[in-house]
């Protein structure tokens, strides 16, 4: 074991891990964080706390993670390289670990063009793979990125993202290999709707033995409506929603669509459980946290293991 992270313990025990997500509020509303956290308590092993997701300003990932920690949850602190340089990032990593946050996810972040401050400078002092390297160096060598020694290393369980559905497809396994080589302990994937394509990606992952070098959590998102399905299919770059799923969502009356979305989600989890190398599930129920329990329950992933 590299860390005290509960997520690492669950994964190391061989149980399928479950994580979910909490997007912090766009304002000083700490109770909103607690409210979202309540839905996930005892349901998941760690809660991703997004970092200015979609390039919209929100309560900081660090502050929201600290609030969840106070509530007894296990925050998974997300960090993007878009908004701050390596000094600020390392300061926040030390700060997070000092507040008891021991699990993080290293990302480059959505481009500012998609958010509410398209006029802002994109920092990108380092990229997501270099961020993974930086956290690993801090943890394992007790050194800052600049080379100086740091006192009290942050023992972070290090996560990274992978999108099997973006292009070029043949590079997607190699990109994962690079993240693993940089020091990623676990991976959370983009939402999986096209299971065939995901299985093909996993074949490549297994061929390189990467599933034995990191834990892969399959990304799952419930669709609320046929409109949401169409939006994700057509408007979100790097998202792959097969037409048959859009049609299936559209084939039921509007009021039944949320239920259909949840069913698709549960069926997807059942299918992915059979894929060798899948170590758990990351359920991204965006602004629909109250449904996570039902999904986890119906997918036979409750109760969560006690560690």
């Amino acid at each position: 074991m590299k860390t005290e992270s509960r997520l690492e313990k669950v994964l190391a025990s061989g149980n399928l891990a479950v994580t979910s997500e909490c997007g912090p509020p766009r304002g000083c509303q700490p109770d909103k964080v607690r409210e979202k956290g309540k839905y996930l308590e005892g349901i998941v092993d760690a809660v991703n706390v997004t970092d200015n997701q979609t390039a919209m300003v929100r309560m900081s990932s660090l502050a929201a993670s600290a609030i969840l920690k106070q509530e007894g949850l296990n925050p998974l602190f997300q960090m993007v390289t878009r908004d701050r340089n390596r000094l600020a990032m390392q300061a926040d990593i030390i700060g997070a670990y000092s507040l008891g946050i021991d699990t993080m996810l290293c990302l480059s972040g959505d481009h500012t063009q998609f958010g509410d401050h398209p006029m802002a400078a994109n920092v990108h002092d380092i990229d997501s793979i270099q961020l993974i390297q930086m956290v690993k160096t801090m943890r394992d060598e007790g050194k800052f990125q600049g080379g100086a020694e740091l006192k009290g290393a942050p023992k972070m369980f290090i996560g990274a993202a992978a999108n099997p559905f973006a292009d070029p497809f043949e590079l997607r396994v190699l990109r994962l290999a690079k993240k693993v080589a940089a020091g990623a302990d676990f991976i959370q994937t983009q939402c999986i709707f096209n299971v065939d394509k995901f299985e093909k990606w996993m074949e490549g992952v297994r061929a390189r033995g990467l599933h034995k070098q990191c834990y892969i959590l399959a990304g799952i998102t419930p669709m609320k409506s046929v409109g949401a399905a169409r939006y994700m299919k057509n408007k979100v770059p790097g998202m792959d929603v097969p037409q048959e799923l859009v049609d299936r969502m559209g084939s039921v009356p509007k009021e039944k669509q949320p239920e259909e979305g949840i069913s698709i989600c549960v069926e997807t989890i059942e299918r992915l459980k059979k894929v060798e190398g899948v170590a758990g599930f990351h359920i991204m129920a965006i602004d629909w946290e109250e449904k996570v329990e039902e999904i986890v329950e119906r997918a036979g992933l409750l109760p969560r293991p006690q560690m």
Partner: protein, 222 residues
């Protein structure tokens, strides 16, 4: 080359409105090639300014001159004979030229007529695209001769983000995903395994991180 685009006429009119006589200076280098501030553009802008001001009842005298190179003091000297009686100078060169004029003529206001854009290449007639950010420590030798610093919207040095679709960047259909280009090039050269080498965090001191940059060639410096 350094690319530039003419500023809107309205902005330029406001700069020159208080003056009776201005010197409008073009440059025969990059801004000529990208049709922003060469001899031809100097002539067009001079007539444009005169006509616009005349419509609001003002007369302005504009002396026109295009230098071989505005970023070089020896060419700037040519302007000495023209500066007498001139209230202000407007430069159609890149920011380097504008600043050379303000350095040489300390008692005259100087205004830029173009927005300096980027170091780029001509993709086709009338289209220029960014190719280099002058980071000061060239990576092209390990990235297949294609620059991710200048051409990835997120400046990713180790591969494409999750928004690369059909060869295009997530920010626009008009922007190629540079990592798709690099990957295609690696494949063409049989260098696929090169992709697996991690490019470490960059030392930005060679770029703007180290403050304003200077090159001193001892063998050439006077």
């Amino acid at each position: 080359m350094i690319t530039a685009e003419r500023k809107p006429l309205e902005e330029l009119i406001e700069y020159v409105r208080p003056f009776k006589r201005i010197l409008l200076v073009g440059c025969n280098e990059c801004v000529t090639v990208c049709s922003a501030g060469g001899r031809k553009e100097v002539g067009l802008l001079a007539s444009g300014l005169k006509m616009a001001l005349m419509q609001s009842g003002r007369n302005i005298e504009i002396r026109e001159h295009t230098l071989e190179r505005q970023c070089d003091p020896e060419y700037i000297d040519e302007l000495v004979s023209m500066i007498d009686g001139v209230d202000a100078v407007m430069s159609m060169a890149c920011g380097c030229g504008v600043q050379e004029i303000s350095r040489r003529f300390k008692d005259r206001p100087v205004f830029p007529a173009v927005n300096t854009k980027f170091m780029g290449a001509s993709e086709r007639q009338g289209v220029w695209a960014e190719r280099c950010q002058g980071c000061g420590n060239c990576l092209l030798g390990v990235t297949g001769g294609i620059c991710p610093i200048a051409r990835c919207s997120k400046r990713l040095m180790n591969g494409p983000c999750g928004g690369s679709v059909a060869g295009k960047c997530e920010i626009s259909q008009d922007v190629d995903c540079v990592w798709q280009l690099i990957w295609d090039r690696f494949k063409e050269l049989g260098l696929e395994e090169n992709y697996l080498n991690i490019i470490p965090a960059k030392d930005w001191r060679s770029a703007t991180g180290g403050g304003p940059r200077k090159i001193i060639r001892e063998d050439l410096a006077a």
